[in-house]
């Protein structure tokens, strides 16, 4: 996938090769008409590329995680600038009338020194953490100013071209030195190749090799209008183009991929941590249950008077211990359930069972509690209703509904209804209890958000509905709540008739 993004498909390569070839051919043809025209066009080409390199690198410097490329971007602005003056100074342009062909050659050499030394320096700032690129920019302004002063004002820049005899030894030796500097920059670049993508490294290497080739071509010419000069310029255009490519890909195409990959990684890590948290809670809860074994066990034993007679006050106190321990147990059990659901570690046991029988069973279980509060439990279930789901989890939700209803109802009745609707079943529990204020409705399914009502201290974990909703959704269903404050509430569990494995 990454490959197809970075590298255009094969036909595109041919098309761009063809386009590039035609452009260069056209450029060559202009040289047949006028070498000055060719030279100006060729230089303008590479100058445009050099400036584009700078604009891209400068504006993407926050996106490009690679000092080398940004540094080069800045360097190419100044290389391009010297190249402009070089072009204007070229023999026949008529801009600098009192200078001969020595000037453009001097400017050329100055630009090439700047280019090659920049390529070398760039290798050494790769590992630095923070580079003040404003200072780099200033450094280049000073360097280029000094170069111009030495050529135009002080005139101390060595002569490079002498009319009649051709290139001076300084110019020839300089081209070799520049080639050596370039070779060195190539060497150091390859030593730090792990900092670059494979494709980008390839482009940089090609670019430097072409620059070397271009330099060597220039050592051969006698006239500034010769063939080797032409080849040198063409190589230069191509070498600039490859640096441009490297920066475009790193600055514009890749950072988004890099960003995307980083995002994906942190998201994965977050998920892992979240799961870890849930698993931690699950195992911690297991440890918490162990001491409850003896608290619940021994209070039970003592209340049964297995270990001797218990007086009235002791019985009352032991009962309080037992109730608190049971409450704590319920709390821990709910937390285990929630963290298991959140960690995706719930093992559902899906099988066919009679929902009618299940609801009847739960109804019978709560008869005693309802009778204690003088509440009437009414039941409306079809004779036969088989569904395919997790029986234990379904029971857990229905039990939560009914125990809530009994808890919050002081008089009247609780109606339990089971209905089949197409491919779904509905279990609804309606009470005539205290109801829920409209503004409290959205707190219902949140953890520990027990809605407080004056004068009522409700026991319970505060996790029941939250957990019930999680379970219902896990089973492919949901829970809805309706309520009128002071009149009662209606909770409905909807489940698919047949549980289907959730799509991943």
């Amino acid at each position: 996938m990454e490959k197809s993004r970075l590298v255009p498909k094969k036909p595109f390569i041919y098309i761009s090769l063809l386009t590039g070839g035609l452009l260069l051919l056209g450029l060559y043809l202009t040289s047949l008409y006028s070498y000055l025209l060719f030279h100006s066009l060729a230089e303008i080409f590479s100058i445009v590329i050099a400036f584009s390199i700078f604009i891209l690198a400068w504006n993407c410097r926050n996106l490009i995680d690679n000092n080398y490329l940004i540094f080069l971007g800045i360097a190419y602005l100044f290389v391009g600038f010297i190249d402009i003056i070089h072009t204007l100074a070229y023999t026949g342009m008529g801009v600098f009338r009192e200078y001969n062909s020595n000037l453009p050659t001097q400017l050329w050499i100055a630009a090439r020194y700047l280019e090659s030394i920049s390529l070398l320096l760039a290798c050494f700032i790769l590992k630095k953490k923070r580079i003040k690129f404003n200072l780099v920019l200033l450094g280049y302004i000073v360097t280029v100013s000094l170069l111009f002063l030495s050529i135009f004002y002080w005139r101390i820049f060595p002569s490079c071209f002498v009319e009649g005899s051709g290139l001076t030894p300084f110019k020839k030796i300089s081209e070799y030195i520049i080639s050596l500097i370039l070779a060195a920059s190539l060497f150091f670049l390859l030593k730090r190749k792990e900092k670059f993508g494979r494709k980008i490294l390839q482009w940089l290497v090609i670019s430097i090799l072409l620059t070397i080739a271009s330099e060597l071509a220039f050592t051969f010419y006698i006239s500034v209008y010769g063939l080797s000069n032409l080849i040198g310029h063409i190589f230069k255009i191509i070498s600039f183009y490859f640096i441009y490519q490297a920066i475009v890909v790193t600055g514009l195409t890749q950072p988004h991929e890099l960003l995307f990959i980083n995002l994906q990684k942190s998201e994965e890590k977050f998920r892992e941590l979240d799961q870890l948290k849930s698993m931690f809670i699950a195992s911690m809860s297991h440890e918490l249950r162990t001491p409850l074994n003896s608290i619940i066990g021994f209070t039970g034993i003592m209340l049964q008077e297995m270990s001797g007679e218990v007086n009235k006050e002791q019985r009352k106190q032991l009962s309080l211990v037992k109730n608190s321990a049971n409450h704590l147990l319920a709390l821990i059990t709910d937390i285990i359930d929630i963290s298991k659901i959140e960690a995706g570690k719930v093992e559902l046991i899906i099988e066919e069972f009679s929902l009618a029988d299940l609801v009847q069973e739960v109804n019978d279980f709560f008869k005693v509690a309802a009778n204690k509060k003088n509440l009437k439990l009414s039941l409306e279930i079809p004779k036969r209703l088989i569904i395919k789901s997790d029986e234990r989890r379904t029971k857990q939700v229905i039990m939560n509904f009914i125990s809530n209803a009994i808890k919050f109802t002081d008089r009247g009745e609780i109606e339990i209804k089971v209905k089949k609707k197409d491919e779904r079943v509905e279990v609804s529990v309606r009470d005539s209890g205290i109801g829920i204020k409209e503004e409290d409705m959205d707190k219902l399914f949140k953890t520990f958000s027990r809605i407080t009502t004056k004068g009522r201290v409700e026991e319970g974990t505060g996790l029941g509905l939250y957990l019930s909703q999680k379970i219902a959704r896990l089973l492919g269903g949901d829970i809805t709540a309706e309520s009128e404050f002071g009149k009662g509430s209606l909770f409905t569990l909807t489940l698919p008739l047949k549980y289907k494995e959730a799509k991943a």
């Binding site: 249950r289 074994n293 003896s294 066990g297």
Partner: protein, 119 residues
């Protein structure tokens, strides 16, 4: 008098379980590791075994399998003590050859009636 073997490594739990069982007229043998449990099960042939799942050394599942292998007819009821937090404890217990399971923490009010179901 019915004899019950309790395999459990937690001292408090073994005291709790043995206490309830003895008070209700059972004879109790105690084992604190899976290996000891297997040995006593084969030697004493108790009427029922209460087997904790998490044990040092071989766990309750492995001990159950070994006991089942040793039996010709496989009739001693083995009741697993399962933990709610451990996903799949019950299913694994039944698969290993347990007859039933009781979830911890033990409720003294219902413990004896549950045991009686298997005797």
């Amino acid at each position: 008098m019915k004899r019950i073997l309790v395999v459990e490594d937690n001292e408090t739990n073994i005291y709790l379980i043995s206490f309830i069982l003895r008070k209700n007229g059972y004879e109790v043998t105690e084992a604190r590791t899976g290996e000891e449990g297997v040995k006593l099960a084969i030697k004493d042939k108790p009427d029922l075994i209460i087997m904790d799942i998490q044990l040092p050394g071989i766990d309750g599942l492995e001990a159950t399998r070994k006991i089942r292998e040793s039996e010709a007819d496989g009739t001693i009821p083995i009741i697993a003590l399962t933990s709610y937090a451990m996903t799949g404890d019950r299913e694994r217990a039944l698969k290993a050859g347990c007859t039933g399971y009781i979830e911890k923490p033990i409720n003294p009010d219902t413990f004896i009636s549950e045991i009686k179901k298997y005797l």
